[in-house]
Subunit: 437 residues, 2 copies
């Protein structure tokens, strides 16, 4: 390594043969020059002055803080792309699990700021600390949101896996079977989850890949899901996107600006569950992989589609009149006293007024995962919803919808999971710290 030529006033510790990942990328080619120069007898030095093309191909430079009272990625304005992964913990050691959560938190704090996953020093003769495919891409609004499944607390036999069973939130139970569920067990449940949202899918995929890599030997991916387009707005500044039924989705969603509603419906309060006080400031995440029979839907008349949804397609306005953001009038009737918004329409069955005021913060994504053997697209909605109490905010509504919602003829739920999403980590701390201390 005698031919190294530090540049830009940076010190390269040649005898240790190590240089920081961040510095290596920050320097104009030095990291590479060090390696090549070893072979090249000085030839590599020319590369040290290589200039990077300026503009990144995609993405945005916005960043969200990782260390915060609540985890980012919940009320954060929904980013356009998703990579979600559920993990099985493979270790039986509580210490290794805690070490994983610490390492994940550190890596998340780096990556969400647009930096490589691991900032520690690395040797040029070791695997790189970061896998590299997001080098040069901006942070792209990346958020990483972590959750714990019921199986993290107790195994299938009810055994306490990591000495935390007495702290399992009473709301954190495997979701019940809903009528017409057709769940694939390998696409359901999980001990841990990570929701990666970003404006650039390469940034989201990079994050899940590096977290999976960090978990090697401690946890492994059980299932994962890419989402190519958001189907909900979580901020009033966002336009309402469309789902694969072609309709605007999530018009009546909770929005970050309605802080009182968010406090009521999303964040777990200090008195909600005294045995699980570590969840204060956290939330519960329902995930449902909802396949859409889009070929069947596409053969249905526009009138029928609108009656099933209860809104018009062009603007998303309720069929009782008004604009997209008008409140639906469920008592309005038309000819022959028929309700303008059908009794079995989706908007009626999902609306807070017909669910004892229950509301959710939805954060779902459209997905397409290839096609089936009959040439039909394997596509639909990956439903994500954050609620304070699944037992009152999600389960009764879904039970009712799966029985009464006409839309159920066009969808099939193929994956399901519930996770407890702890509050945010403090600077220097880690996600879930209050559960383990």
């Amino acid at each position: 390594m005698s031919e190294e030529q530090p540049t830009d006033g940076e010190q390269v510790s040649a005898d240790r043969g190590r240089l920081s990942r961040r510095r290596m990328l920050g320097l104009t080619g030095t990291g590479a020059a060090v390696g090549a120069a070893t072979f090249a007898g000085g030839l590599g030095i020319g590369r040290a002055t290589a200039a990077e093309p300026a503009a990144p191909p995609t993405g945005t430079s916005r960043t969200y803080p990782f260390y915060d009272a609540h985890q980012a990625g919940i009320v954060t304005p929904a980013q356009d792309r998703l990579h979600f992964a559920a993990f099985d913990v493979t270790t039986t050691s509580r210490e290794e699990l805690v070490t994983l959560l610490q390492a994940w938190s550190l890596a998340a704090a780096e990556m969400t700021q647009g930096r490589p996953a691991q900032a520690e020093e690395t040797s040029y003769d070791s695997p790189a600390a970061d896998t590299g495919e997001a080098d040069g891409l901006p942070a792209s609004g990346l958020t990483l949101t972590f959750g714990f499944g019921p199986s993290l607390f107790r195994d299938a036999q009810g055994k306490d896996r990591f000495g935390i069973a007495d702290r399992q939130p009473k709301e954190l139970k495997r979701l019940p079977h809903f009528p017409s569920d057709n769940l694939n067990p390998v696409r359901s449940d999980g001990d841990l989850c990570v929701q990666a949202c970003a404006d650039d899918p390469q940034v989201a995929v990079h994050a899940i890949r590096n977290l999976s890599r960090i978990a090697f030997g401690t946890a492994e991916i059980r299932w994962s899901q890419l989402g190519f387009g958001r189907t909900s707005s979580t901020s009033k500044a966002q336009t309402t996107p469309r789902n694969l039924f072609g309709f605007k989705d999530g018009t009546a969603n909770l929005k970050a600006e309605d802080t009182k509603d968010v406090d009521t419906h999303v964040w777990v309060g200090g008195q909600d569950d005294p045995a699980a006080a570590w969840m204060t400031g956290g939330s519960f995440l329902v995930t449902r992989r909802i396949n859409m029979h889009i070929e069947t839907w596409d053969r249905t008349s526009l009138r029928e589609q609108e009656n099933i949804i209860g809104r018009d397609r062009p603007h998303g306005a309720p069929l009782s009149g008004g604009t997209e953001f008008s409140e639906p009038n469920f008592t309005a009737t038309g000819r022959a006293k028929e309700p303008l918004i059908a009794m079995d329409s989706h908007v009626r069955l999902a609306h807070p007024t017909t669910n004892k005021g229950a509301a959710m913060l939805r954060r779902g994504y459209n997905f397409t995962d290839g096609n089936d053997a009959l040439g039909r697209l394997d596509a639909g909605l990956f439903f994500l919803a954050y609620v304070r109490r699944p037992s009152t905010q999600y389960i009764p509504m879904q039970m009712r919808m799966s029985r009464e919602d006409t839309m159920m003829e066009y969808v099939q739920h193929t994956g399901s999971a519930l996770f407890a999403v702890p509050p945010g980590a403090k600077q220097g701390g880690y996600i879930g710290q209050n559960l383990f201390t």
Copy 2:
């Protein structure tokens, strides 16, 4: 339908109960108001003034013409997202096949300009002419590129399927088996293909879905592939992206600006194959689904990775020195006369100078399709390359690489296809017209 209220000076043909798809979306709510008013006794009219939120959630407004000498989506600056589909033709009727190509061409001409798939009139009591999920999204640089597989010309028994066997290009043969291929037949081959590229994945998915819908009864999807990030630049104005090995990919790719090289290496010439003169101005598309063993790769030292690639990771400069766009010096040696760029490195084996000057226009995409049962991401590179002569530009190089390239230890080819991509359609004509007339 007596309560319709035409707005904005538009005429609504009430007695026919039909209104154009485009007008329906263009009018501020009229289409929906028509439907709702039927039930609502006038209540729906209020919606006719609903204003759309201004900003679309994503995408760009750039458009590329559909009718052109060459098909768009080849030398077009590579868009960020991909949805690719291969189709099996299910009809035995030549006429139906031609009708499909005509309908596809019309729909492509609409969608690439940011309009719904079908502009013809539709009834509110019929299925909508467009599936709707791209309503309100800009064109996002959508290109749709169509190709014909060898199986369109002759079936497995060699039988002429549609009276075009005598016009099958001699270059259009099923790709040979390459050493270490592990092809999944249901992810390989196909009678027809459509490559949808756009800046917004929802726009690309919408296009494939609507083309598949139009094909119902004539052709069905055989396999499909989403790509979330481009791995090649096809224009000098673009920065070089990174593949999932973390390296810049396609630095030495053909670029649209090198029109002479493009003419030499991409476009089929009038004298190339007199029996298949209909291909003049077209090209051949090689598709390969290349799974990357990213977990294994990630455990390899950075030095080893760079030696396998033959370039440095931070900047993509050849290991012989210089910057990203410096020509690799394959004769340069370092200590002990070892070549700076290893003999079995990817850059050496793929380079035109070691392939009798053969070059390709690459247009590949990173993909992640969930994970396998061992928790490893099902991820890699969906390789797309346009060449004038597969027999000299792709097959010998791939044969050599699959034997000698050290990178082959980290990848597995799991899908393969070759398509003849005809020239562009003339205004009023359709893709492949010269093949059928």
